[in-house]
């Protein structure tokens, strides 16, 4: 049993598990932090960005200044942004049987895998994961495709060139495998390979393995997965939350008794308390707006934004913000808001109860109805007519490299009245802001990451007691910036096995048993006997049938009826099959009782001699000798089958068969 680790990003995992005869990919995360090395894609021509000076090597290499631009001391690639794919060379991805998706953030690399590796299997995900995942992909494609960029830089990726570049470009990993965004067609094709599943649904894979998604409490439809056979259990925990936000609570009990628990997707900001961050978010927002400034919230079109809008709904009137327009701009804003209302079965209890009334589960329906929240597909069109300042804008992409957010950064960056508030934890806000420097705008960092922190992890592990924990190497040491915080790492016994990108781990499994079914007719013929109190034994001789990885024991065929008449049989017909096994024997033979038994059965003239290891019983008349020792009996006699069988049966009376 092996784990192939294809991603080095702990919250955007991509692992392949070989379990029994199946090959299972766990998540398909796409590392988008690579885009931070690129210049933003402005929706509207930006003189500032297009006039940035080119960057050249000191030896005056002229080719690079077209590809690389400098902004406030940082160097950026001026090209279509590219993403860092999971490792595709470590294992032949066409052999992957199934892909299990845990949440919509962890499926963004799916089109690269399903469309370009010869993959022919099935992808399993919950309905909200697929619907919202589709929205995220559509948004991404839309952001990139609506700003066509002719240039695709490649010279800088040359290894000899790259090592001469300044950080962080110099240190960027696997740049040769970075790829441009997929097309909508590839998205549709990838998503068509998904089969929808529900929590606690047991899915059989080839009769050998059963996989089950469980609620993970992190996002709409987010799941952890159980991968098990009858005797082995792997739990895959990815992006889980114990906080009460909108999704259904995490199912912890079902993770119990795992042989191996693969733990990924913990909080990226272990020192920040999400509730505190929400408080800070609203106070900064209110302060900026009261001072006449605008607030920009770079965000994904689904997820925490639902919770923020809900808080907003409760906060808006008491904070005197009811006259401030709130805008949500995304090509999928409308769909995201609509979809959030139809997944009642995937929501927490309170929200479910509202649907029973029937009322929409999220109050943003009311914000929209009362015109407090308006949503637009982009800054073009209706938005430009409705746009009033000061206002609050929720828009993507949180990397600040593409999407409508680029426009607002350019528009509002020069005024200190405005504020950009970072809530998404996936990108370093300083790096995200780098190509916009120098900035006058205020920057507030309120990362809201509801995923498990290390205290919760240690509680969880105590609760579910896995035999072994496997996790990304980042979780086995404190974060580099807080090297003294020994509490910011996974602490468990035995210590976790860690993995890094492109590593293969042998999982500590000892498979000992397999399920087999005993057919009722066979079961009826078994004769159990009690060996020790509470333990019974039965010897089984049966025919094994194996089909579709399922094993069945059937009764042995009845011996063919003896050939009638006195017809002579050919010698060969009589030769017994040496493969018919007889049971093993156990026990010992008490000599005195044995002799008594012999006498009872008509043997006389019995003599017993003691030897160093036991006894010899002599049947003088029959010229037979029986050596009896603790663990063996040897009957030496003339070729008299009747006699031999009689003696055998008497011996067997004292022994147990196995």
């Amino acid at each position: 049993m092996k784990l192939y680790c294809l991603s080095g990003h702990p919250t955007l995992p991509c692992n392949v598990l070989k379990f029994k005869s199946t090959t299972i990919m766990l998540d398909c995360g796409l590392d988008m932090t690579s885009t931070l090395n690129f210049l933003p894609l402005p929706l509207v021509q930006s003189p500032r960005l297009s006039n940035l000076p080119g960057w050249s090597l000191k030896d005056g290499n002229v080719f690079l200044d077209k590809e690389l631009k400098e902004c406030s001391g940082h160097v950026f690639v001026d090209s279509v942004p590219e993403f860092c794919l999971p490792e595709t060379e470590l294992i032949d991805l066409s052999t992957v049987d199934v892909i299990l998706i845990s949440n919509y953030h962890c499926m963004m690399a799916l089109p690269y895998i399903t469309e370009h590796t010869g993959f022919t299997g099935t992808v399993y995900a919950t309905e909200p994961t697929v619907q919202i995942g589709r929205l995220l992909m559509e948004e991404l494609v839309n952001f990139i495709e609506r700003v066509p960029k002719a240039q695709s830089a490649s010279v800088w990726k040359n290894k000899d060139v790259q090592r001469l570049l300044p950080s962080p470009l110099k240190d960027a990993v696997e740049v040769s495998t970075w790829r441009r965004c997929y097309s909508l067609q590839e998205v549709n094709s990838a998503l068509s390979k998904i089969q929808l599943v529900g929590y606690s649904q047991k899915i059989e894979l080839f009769g050998a393995v059963q996989v089950t998604p469980l609620s993970s409490g992190y996002a709409l439809g987010s799941s952890n997965w159980i991968i098990q056979s009858h005797y082995e259990k792997v739990s895959y925990v990815s992006g889980s939350s114990l906080l009460t936000t909108h999704p259904q609570p995490m199912d912890q009990a079902s993770l119990k008794n795992s042989d191996v628990l693969v733990l990924t997707g913990l909080t990226q900001i272990p020192t920040a308390n999400p509730d505190g961050m929400v408080g800070e978010f609203f106070s900064s927002l209110a302060l900026t707006v009261r001072n006449g400034g605008n607030v920009l919230v770079p965000c994904y079109p689904s997820g925490v934004i639902y919770d923020l809008l809900e808080c907003l709904y409760q906060y808006i009137d008491s904070a005197g913000l009811s006259s401030i327009p709130f805008y949500f701009i995304s090509p999928v804003a409308n769909s995201s808001l609509e979809f959030s209302q139809i997944f009642a079965e995937w929501l927490c209890h309170n929200k479910q109860a509202k649907v029973y009334l029937p009322e929409p589960p999220f109050p943003h329906a009311e914000l929209i109805q009362t015109n407090k929240l308006k949503h637009y597909p982009s800054i073009h069109g209706d938005f430009s007519n409705d746009f009033r300042q000061p206002c609050v804008v929720f828009t993507g992409h949180p990397s600040l490299r593409f999407g409508d957010v680029v426009h607002f950064m350019e528009l509002w960056g020069k005024s200190s009245l405005n504020t950009v508030i970072f809530t998404e934890p996936d990108f370093s806000y300083l790096e995200a802001l780098a190509p916009y420097q120098p900035l006058a705008m205020k920057c507030i960092y309120c990362p809201i990451d509801t995923r498990l922190n290390f205290i919760q992890v240690s509680k969880l592990l105590k609760e579910v007691q896995p035999l072994h924990v496997v996790c990304p190497e980042q979780y086995t040491q404190p974060p580099p910036a807080q090297a003294h915080r020994m509490d910011l790492m996974i602490d468990c016994q035995p210590p976790p096995m860690s993995y890094r990108r492109a590593e293969v781990l042998a999982l500590p499994f000892k498979r000992r048993y397999e399920k087999i079914e005993i057919m009722p007719e066979l079961a009826d013929s078994l004769v159990p006997m009690e060996i020790k109190p509470g333990i019974s034994l039965a010897t089984v001789s049966a025919v094994l049938h194996t089909k579709d990885n399922k094993h069945v024991l059937q009764p042995p065929p009845r011996p063919a009826p003896p050939a009638g008449g006195k017809k002579r049989k050919r010698v060969n017909d009589d030769i017994p099959d040496c493969k018919v096994l007889k049971p093993l024997l156990s026990g010992s033979i008490p000599v005195e009782q044995f002799v008594q038994t012999l006498e009872k059965h008509g043997f006389s003239d019995i003599k017993v001699e003691d030897t160093s290891k036991g006894h010899i019983v002599l049947l003088q008349e029959a010229e037979t000798l029986i050596q009896i020792e603790e663990d063996s009996t040897h009957i030496i006699c003339d070729n008299d089958e009747m006699l031999r069988v009689r003696l055998r049966d008497l011996v067997l009376k004292f022994l147990q068969k196995f």
Partner: protein, 603 residues
């Protein structure tokens, strides 16, 4: 012998008050808990005394499962749980859980407020009853207890309707509830995997009907409505608030839009407005098309269909009114019917099945004079049309489902005895499985023979499987092992491992037989002759002549020795263990017959 027992308390050879008791693997499950629309006395609820005469409901039943929100499937629930007394879990899907209490309250109001019935369940009882409900999702495996698990499948029929698989160990029963096998304008078709249950309990409302295509029926319906409206008549469509109502609304809405019609369409108030809202929020339960397009256009937001006010019934001019309930047995639909029945320009369209005893059933069976309360006689002049829009599977659909699930036997409920008889024969002929159709209170017993799951040690299994791959697999190979049974833990291991685990030593039992041969040659030569003789006879066995002069056949050892007294006789010592007994005893009898004469030079 294990068995599965099924006893309908309702819906046995009848439509109404569905309630079926199933005993499987020592567990007792009640499927549905409905009321009968055709009765107003005790017979309207299932006869729970069948259980209670032997003890409490909660003690007897492990769980109750409700298939969908129609009252003939859940109408007796508050009576059952709060008045008779049941505190165990009640399982149903989320939409059913949402809608069921509303219909129950509606039912209660009609019974108590309008008909003045005493001793009926109260609003509080409905609430208390719903607190015992556990919601399930499609395809989720719900572990009711350690052994009993249930799983819901999509059934179409109405919003949230589900079929349920009930499973204990390797034994299972599937109960369909009501279902339809063709997608309609708002719901998808029922689907189940090849789960091969021991028993499939299926509804059989349309056991003998094979309906023409849905399109034809829709066209027919629209034509009739259109003609009536054109000639200035009023159309009454009695419906249940949820289900057909939405399908027909979508149908009329799109038709009105396309034909640019102006006649008003009304929906009787209260329930139905709310109902549309449920459809919007549970849109994931509707059909593919509606789900796909709901962001752009929600099919349950109707432009042409307005809320109805009872005063509108007397308005002049054409109109179409959807009114509840569907079988004209009470409420608004019956009131409107009485107003409009006398005018031959008007039309009533019954879009679904009507239970015996209801006004709907009477007019459909051709009665034109109805005796109403207070000896009043109502003469029916309006046109009466029946259109089978109710979403039940027809005979073809039922056969299709049986084919999908591949049950070992089938049991019919929720249908009329005569029609069941016909379908039963058809199922028995086509699928060669037993088909049952018990009446209420009658028990069907099915013996089952579940196989027993045990754990086999991987070493033993792999050894056997490796040998199973050998070419001489002509003869079935026997696997030999020891089953260790400790509490409920059953493991099959090799005999050696069993001995080891129990800390026991093996006791070797060995036999050595003396076989006397007339042969005056040297022992070595005798051994050589034995070797060639056996080698030529036992082609399939490993026969070896060892350097020390002994001969082995597999693990059986043969040595030749001189006779102590007779130099013309040699003694063959044939030695084998108990495990090789058959071959050993065969060899001795073979050698006893003597050796063939030596080819040459023998004396």
């Amino acid at each position: 012998m294990p068995e599965i027992r099924v006893t309908p308390l309702g819906a046995g050879q009848d439509v109404g008050r569905s309630c079926i008791l199933v005993s499987i693997g020592g567990k007792n499950v009640m499927l549905d808990c409905g009321m009968h629309m055709g009765f107003n006395d005790d017979r309207r609820f299932p006869d729970f005394s069948y259980i209670t005469r032997n003890g409490r409901l909660t003690d007897f039943l492990d769980c109750v499962i409700i298939s969908h929100f129609h009252l003939d499937h859940c109408g007796a629930l508050p009576y059952f749980s709060e008045m008779v007394g049941y505190d165990g879990p009640i399982y149903m899907t989320h939409p059913t859980q949402a809608i069921c209490p509303i219909l129950l309250e509606d039912y209660r109001k009609i019974a108590v407020d309008k008909k003045g019935e005493a001793n009926f369940f109260t609003s509080q009882m409905i609430k208390d009853c719903m607190k015992k409900v556990v919601a399930v999702r499609l395809h989720q495996t719900v572990q009711v207890d350690e052994e009993l698990q249930i799983k819901a499948y999509y059934a179409g029929h109405v919003l949230g309707a589900a079929m349920f698989q009930i499973k204990v160990g390797s034994e299972s029963v599937v109960y369909t509830g009501d279902y339809n096998m063709t997608p309609d304008r708002h719901l998808g078709a029922a689907w189940i995997d090849k789960c091969r249950p021991n028993l499939l309990i299926t509804e059989s409302t349309y056991a003998t009907t094979i309906r023409d295509s849905k399109r034809c029926r829709e066209r027919d319906f629209l034509k009739k409505v259109h003609e009536t409206v054109e000639r200035g008549g009023k159309v009454l469509i009695p419906v249940f608030a949820l289900g057909r109502a939405q399908e027909l609304c979508i149908l009329l809405e799109t038709f009105w839009e396309r034909m640019n019609l102006k006649a008003p369409i009304y929906f009787s108030t209260g329930l139905t407005e709310k109902a549309n809202h449920y459809y919007k929020l549970f849109i994931t339960w509707t059909n593919q098309k509606i789900r796909k397009t709901f962001v752009q256009r929600n099919m349950f937001e109707f432009k042409h269909i307005k809320a109805f006010d009872r005063a509108f019934a007397d308005n002049p001019g054409p109109m179409v009114v959807f009114a509840t309930p569907g079988m004209l047995h009470a409420g608004q639909s019956l009131q409107i019917f009485r107003k409009w029945a006398g005018n031959e320009k008007n039309m009533v369209i019954m879009p679904g099945y009507c239970v015996q005893g209801t006004v709907g059933h009477k007019i459909l069976s051709g009665q034109r004079k109805l005796e109403m309360e207070g000896r009043q006689v109502l003469e029916i002049r309006m046109q009466v049309e029946y259109m089978s829009f109710s979403a039940h599977a027809d005979a073809k659909g039922i056969m299709q489902l049986v084919g999908q699930a591949e049950p070992e036997s089938v049991l019919l409920v929720h249908g009329e005895a005569k029609k069941m008889e016909f379908l039963k024969q058809k199922i028995e002929q086509e699928f060669r499985v037993n088909c049952y159709m018990p009446a209420n209170g009658e028990t069907v017993t099915l013996p089952t023979s579940p196989s027993i799951p045990v754990g086999i040690s991987l070493g033993l299994l792999k050894r056997e499987m490796a040998q199973g791959l050998l070419p001489d697999a002509k003869k079935p190979r026997l696997l030999h092992g020891t089953l260790i049974m400790k509490d409920s833990n059953f493991r099959l291991v090799s005999s050696e491992q069993a001995l080891k685990e129990l800390g026991l030593a093996e006791h070797q039992l060995r036999f050595t037989c003396r076989v006397h041969l007339h042969d005056s040659r040297k022992e070595q030569e005798t051994a050589m002759r034995v070797y060639s003789h056996l080698k030529s006879l036992l082609k399939d066995h490993c026969v070896q002549h060892l350097p020390d002069g002994s001969v082995t056949v597999e693990s059986i050892l043969i040595q030749a020795a001189a006779h102590s007294e007779d130099p013309g006789t040699k003694v063959l010592l044939v030695s084998w263990t108990y495990q090789d007994e058959e071959l050993g005893s065969y060899l001795t009898s073979l050698l006893k017959k003597g050796l063939p004469p030596a080819p040459s030079g023998g004396s």
